[in-house]
């Protein structure tokens, strides 16, 4: 659907903070919306070092 990632601003900020690429996260929310929990899960499951954010 339009290639857009659906996630609340707080989840998007968390993804930046943890260096998670939202496009690669499976959302568990309605319609595939990505929750903060999904971002944490993706960050833990990711063996690579988080990217620097600033």
């Amino acid at each position: 659907s339009g290639g857009r990632v659906f996630a609340a601003p707080s989840a998007r900020r968390l993804a930046r903070e943890l260096g998670v690429d939202l496009a690669a996260v499976d959302g568990s929310g309605p319609g595939g919306r990505i929750t903060e929990m999904d971002v944490h899960t993706a960050a833990e499951g990711d063996a690579t070092e988080p990217e620097p954010t600033a």
């Binding site: 601003p9 930046r16 319609g31 600033a54």
Partner: protein, 474 residues
């Protein structure tokens, strides 16, 4: 004030104290950075002094008069008279309160305020020339700079501003009497807001626009409501005509226009207001000394961290390009400050709302149906006409509609186009819905107060799901 040439150092130099600059400065100071804010003119920039605030003050004040004048059928008999000098005086008080407030907030946050014009000397130094003779100048060394120099009205070579007969929006917001006949060149949002203000204040208003509709950035059915209302206020539209020349005449002027087909027309007016767009202000600041690039239109390109091509120099607000709106500048100011402070901030908003404070207002956020299609969605659209809203009826204001655009497949809310009283307020909810990834169902399930216009947002969403109560679903 500092006299003579002394050198100071700062973590963050902010150039320009409009909405982009003062918000950046305050946010940076909150994040414990040492901040210097330079402003050459007045705190609050265009927005507080010559833009958003004064225009909305006049919109509100003329609206009070207009509503009272039109309320006989509601049992209210009034014959309001407008004293433009009094109205502008009140507007100036509003502006004063807010600009004083901005200055106080800056001081309260410990920002170093410098009055003068800042020009880059090199990548890490700016010179500030203090206004007035013998005021001297100072050198400021910075770790990071935020350019927030804003924009100014575009001048037409054929109709150059003189502040007397040919006005910019800034002049128009400071008139001390209502012009008998006002010719507005340009039917963008500034032209349309001021055309409405002066029509309500009693001017005979004529609008000349080169394109074929008012507010050309909006969909035709959105614009139609506002154009119709403006016509009923006596505004006379001339589309597909461009201002070509002018001539002084008694106390006023004659403006010559040229149509698409070469037809020449002449319009007499007391004053002409030219509102054909705004251009970035970069000629005050010597960007090239810092190595900062501009694009072909003179704007400073930035990335999603509000960063220019020079890593430690940021640009926010109108100088950074579209959308040239105060809230975009403020958000970019916050992001620039947070990025400098090392926070994981970004300009990653899904939707920047925009409002036009005409009668009725227009409020839009996110995608139109067409834009949603172009973005690869399969949009579903829901609408509630305002005449089906109880609150709109009690406001005696039923021209308009609320339209919600969503993705058919998963119901995600993608956008809204609202034409209604307080549309500027109503879009806030849809903006949040878009940012949250809310679905139509989420909007419909949320209980909305009765009777309000916000119910129309819920009902438009319900209509998109085939579940609206107060309109038959299609």
């Amino acid at each position: 004030m500092v006299v003579g040439d002394i050198a100071t150092g700062t973590d963050v130099l902010v150039i320009g104290a409009g909405p982009g600059g003062y918000v950046a400065a305050i946010r940076a100071a909150q994040l414990d950075l040492d901040v210097t804010l330079v402003e050459k003119d007045a705190y609050g920039g265009t927005c507080l002094n010559h833009g958003c605030i004064p225009s909305k003050a006049l919109v509100s004040a003329t609206d009070v008069a207009h509503e009272a004048r039109e309320a006989e059928h509601m049992g209210v008999h009034a014959d309001p008279a407008i004293d433009m000098a009094g109205m502008v005086g009140w507007k100036d008080e509003v502006v004063d309160q807010l600009t004083t407030g901005v200055e106080r907030l800056c001081k309260g946050n410990g920002i170093n305020l410098v009055e003068g014009t800042a020009e880059f000397a090199d990548e890490n130094t700016a010179r500030v020339a203090h206004g007035g003779e013998g005021q001297g100048s100072e050198s400021i060394e910075f770790e990071h700079a935020i350019v927030a120099t804003g924009s100014r009205p575009i001048e037409l070579p054929s109709l150059p501003f003189d502040g007397d007969r040919i006005l910019s929006s800034r002049h128009a917001l400071a008139l001390d009497s209502v012009p008998d006949e006002l010719l507005v060149v340009g039917a963008g949002y500034i032209g349309m807001e001021l055309a409405t203000v002066f029509a309500k204040a009693g001017s005979d208003v004529r609008v000349v626009e080169a394109l074929d509709q008012a507010l050309p950035m909006y969909e035709a059915d959105v614009t139609r409501v506002v154009t119709q209302r403006a016509k009923s206020l006596g505004v006379d539209f001339h589309f597909e005509e461009a201002a070509a020349d002018w001539e002084a005449r008694d106390e006023g002027l004659t403006v010559v226009t040229e149509g698409e087909d070469g037809t020449v027309s002449e319009y007499d007016a007391t004053k002409a207001l030219v509102a054909v767009g705004r251009e970035p202000v970069t000629d005050t600041v010597a960007l090239d000394a810092a190595g900062v690039e501009t694009d072909d239109d003179g704007f400073v390109p930035t990335d999603d961290r509000a960063r220019t091509n020079v890593d430690h120099v940021f640009a926010v607000g109108d100088v950074a390009g579209e959308p040239m709106l105060a809230h975009q500048g403020m958000k970019a100011g916050e992001v620039a400050a947070e990025v400098i402070a090392g926070e994981p901030a970004a300009l990653d908003q899904q939707a920047i709302p925009a409002a036009v404070f005409t009668d009725p207002e227009i409020g839009t956020v996110g995608l139109t149906e067409r834009e949603a299609e172009e973005a690869g969605f399969e949009p579903v659209v829901g609408e509630l006409p305002l005449r089906a809203s109880g609150r709109a009826l009690t406001h005696d204001d039923t021209d308009g509609f609320v339209r919600i655009v969503a993705d058919e497949a998963d119901g995600f809310v993608l956008g809204a186009q609202i034409v209604s009283p307080d549309a500027s307020e109503l879009i806030a909810e849809v903006g949040l819905a878009i940012e949250m990834g809310a679905t139509l169902e989420d909007l419909v399930a949320t209980v909305h107060t009765h009777p309000t216009l916000s119910e129309a947002v819920m009902e438009a969403a319900a209509n998109a799901m085939g579940q609206a109560i107060h309109t038959l679903n299609r």
